[in-house]
Symmetry: C2
Subunit: 114 residues, 2 copies
């Protein structure tokens, strides 16, 4: 069994978002997807993102307000959302006090990890 | 964007464990893995499990005490653990009050979803 905790991992900033990519764990030949944790601070939003990979995200803490195609859906702690290939998205954290942390997996549309 | 919430999904019991398999969402041709949520009640344990699929789990709420090979590691809310193919495991919830909920992905060792 291998244990992965965000507290002991390397992170970097994408705008206001703190990102922990799983590349650092050397699992590229093991996982059929790539993965990351990211945290959006209170009253902040991720940069607009759009990419060929599909993306399945699970909300670890806080509530994600997921904006796609002009509408926004709130995704609660524990729930998940799937973004299609090339679907543009912005993730908002509308809480004044609770950071929004998400675990995301992503993969190319052919179903294989890159 | 598709939104998945455990509250509106079908679940079934495996011993004391409440399991919500993602098969019901019709994503088998989309995701490169299978997935489920499961909840271990306070002061309870999952049945011992062992299977060919590798398994990556993220703790959504509570703390998972993950027993493998005679040792147990506590995995906190937000952290993750990876089980190898055929690695026997029991997941304990040692809290008296907090349910343990986990989001799990699993796939065969060749890296493709079944």
């Amino acid at each position: 069994m291998r244990h992965f905790a965000s507290e002991s991992a390397e992170s970097y900033a994408v705008g206001v978002v703190d990102v922990i990519r799983w590349d650092q764990f050397g699992l590229n030949d093991v996982l059929p997807f790539q993965a990351m944790w990211y945290t959006v601070p209170p009253l902040s939003s991720s940069p607009r993102d759009q990419h060929p990979e599909l993306e399945l995200s699970v909300v670890i803490s806080g509530t994600a307000s997921v904006e796609t195609g002009g509408s926004t859906v709130d995704v609660a702690q524990g729930a998940a959302f799937l973004l299609d290939s090339e679907e543009a998205h912005v993730i908002h954290n509308r809480s004044a006090g609770v950071p929004l942390t998400i675990f995301t997996t992503f993969w190319m549309p052919n179903g294989k990890a890159q």
